[in-house]
């Protein structure tokens, strides 16, 4: 286990290093951030001065060396626009995004598990066909379009739910969360459902396929020959075996949710880090973009690590080494 941990940490460092390298050099192709921060009236001298102040007059590899040096001290740079540490800016917004993603995961799982198992166990049932048709539609819809239709219908036309923002928050462990208040909870519903839609549809399909595959395997037939009932066959034997690949995809899906949170947050004015990213892209705020990608990379490595741990809990054949 310790060896495994060391191995994972080495991998994580390698991944983060690669990400920082790629991100940093690719970012240097973006628009000139200096032009975004000086007032439009700025003279050439002022622009040059700002460039020096931001360290952008240095050759790229020097900038990278400085960046890397700061990184080792936990400093991901200072936002050109906000003039505050990029890390702080992102961490401030992280709870909102994680909250949204967490609720989307809850919604996806709550719907996908029963639907997927049902459709996999009784593939020829009419209800299964409806589930599958619906899930196919779910992965065919552009999520941003869906979001705006939701706002249009549920908020503007029907007035059932608020259209945007995070609403009232309450503090838990010193972090503000929206779902703790009634108002905040109402705010989270639409964006969480919008965000969940794609993952939900894709999980239904995956779970169904896995259940169908597992149900054809010998050990299921052997269990039937033992006289095991359908219910036990499905839930004791099939489901757990079907879950192993689902866990991997689910890990990747958490990443996808974080990525698509950028879109959802933009539509619903959800104050998360995805919206910060889109805004920073629009303003060429390089330190934030770099920091965002680094943090997201770290999160993914962590998620993958968790997925591996979950594996060993589900599947005794997998040995962490």
């Amino acid at each position: 286990m310790l060896k495994y941990l060391i191995k994972r940490i080495f991998q994580m460092i390698a991944v983060l290093f690669a990400v920082s390298l790629i991100v940093f050099f690719v970012m240097s192709f973006t628009g000139d951030p200096v032009l975004m921060i000086v007032p439009p009236t700025a003279t050439d001298a002022q622009i040059a001065e700002a460039r020096v102040a931001l360290g952008l007059d240095q050759p790229l590899w020097v900038q990278y060396r400085v960046f890397l040096g700061n990184l080792l001290r936990g400093d991901l740079g200072v936002s050109y626009i906000f003039k505050r540490p990029a890390l702080t800016l992102i961490v401030e917004r992280m709870p909102a995004t994680l909250e949204l993603v967490f609720f989307s995961i809850l919604i996806s799982l709550a719907v996908a598990l029963p639907c997927g198992v049902f459709a996999g166990a009784w593939p020829n049932n009419p209800l299964s066909r409806i589930i599958m048709g619906g899930s196919l539609l779910g992965i065919s819809l552009p999520s941003f379009w869906l979001g705006i239709l939701f706002i249009f219908y549920f908020a503007v036309e029907k007035g059932l739910l608020p259209s945007s923002g995070r609403g009232e928050t309450a503090t838990l462990f010193g972090i503000p969360f929206a779902f703790l208040t009634r108002d905040g909870f109402r705010h989270i519903i639409l964006p969480a459902v919008t965000l969940a839609m794609g993952t939900l549809a894709m999980l239904i399909r995956l779970i169904r396929a896995q259940i169908m595959e597992v149900m054809r395997q010998d050990f299921i037939k052997f269990a039937r020959a033992k006289g095991v009932s359908w219910k036990n066959l499905l839930f004791r034997h099939a489901l757990k075996n079907a879950l192993v690949p689902v866990v991997t995809v689910f890990g990747i899906q958490i990443g996808t949710l974080i990525a698509f949170a950028t879109v959802t947050e933009t539509i619903f004015a959800w104050p998360g880090m995805g919206k910060l990213l889109v805004d920073s892209i629009n303003t060429s705020d390089r330190p934030i973009i770099v920091a965002y990608l680094m943090i997201v990379a770290a999160m993914f490595v962590f998620i993958n690590f968790m997925v591996d741990i979950v594996y060993t809990l589900i599947d005794p054949r997998i040995d962490l080494r």
């Binding site: 060896k3 060391i6 191995k7 080495f10 991998q11 080494r321």
Partner: protein, 331 residues
Amino acid sequence: MNNTGKMHDPKNILEVSDLVQTFTQPYGILDRLTGRPKKTVHAVNGVSFSVRRGEVFSLVGESGCGKSTTARTIVRLLEPKSGTLLFDGQDITKFTPAEMMPVRKKMQMIFQDPYASLNPRQRIREIVMEPMLFHREAADREEAHVKMLRLLDIVGFRPEQADRYPHQFSGGQRQRIGIARALATNPTFLAADEPVSALDVSIQAQVLNLMMDLRDEFNLSYLFIAHDLSVVRHVTERLGIMYLGFIVEQGERDRIFEKPLHPYTQALLAVAPTLDRKIAAVPLSGDVPSPIHLPVGCPFASRCPQKMSICETNRPKLRILDGRAVACHLY
């Protein structure tokens, strides 16, 4: 001709001496950093035998004993780790792919799984013609076509069947197609890796008969890999019994079948299912040791009913005894 300085007997088409084959699991930087032990599978551990011209030599053993690996190393699908391979008097152990080219013509293989050994996307015609054309056994496609039809006829197909795909044939038929492909370059030596173990009994006899007929017609020599002793007894002149990558007993067929010396050979013969007698009391217990950690003593010691204390510590060498070679401390 023979650059190892060893004596070469021109009666032998193939001479294998001290052949060693190992597989190493991938070992990356991270493994090195975390100090993970390097795992090496010792598949073949110093195997020596020879195949005479026109003879069938068999290697027999249970799955995982290294017999298939030996065959695949001999035809140079795998690079030998050490040892010498003399084929037709030539030392082919270190041959480059280019140098192997003329040897490949003479040395072909029949595979175990008739379903996996034919490319599902090639027509029968192409499967048989590809080696011919590649090795210029035929001047042009037309000549190759004629030769292909003749080969198919030999193994029992009608000309119109040449345009079909493998999935349109049964297992036995596919195995015959595999034999036709092996014959396409006019080889003198065929390595047959469990050629009938995947076949039904009635088909097994057909294929075995075909192989024996071809031996007479084309003056072939076979290296025959099998686990079924009754089949081996039927086809072979000499055989070697393999266990955990070692040959434990080797010699003339009749001597071994009539009076097996090695306890493992005895056990194999005792448990071989036959129509004519009841299974003897099972003499063996336990499992084969891991080929990753070879025992220091006799490889068979852990399961041997006649184990002595020396067997745990000293590995017996093959010794000539009663007209065959055997590696056992009992003798």
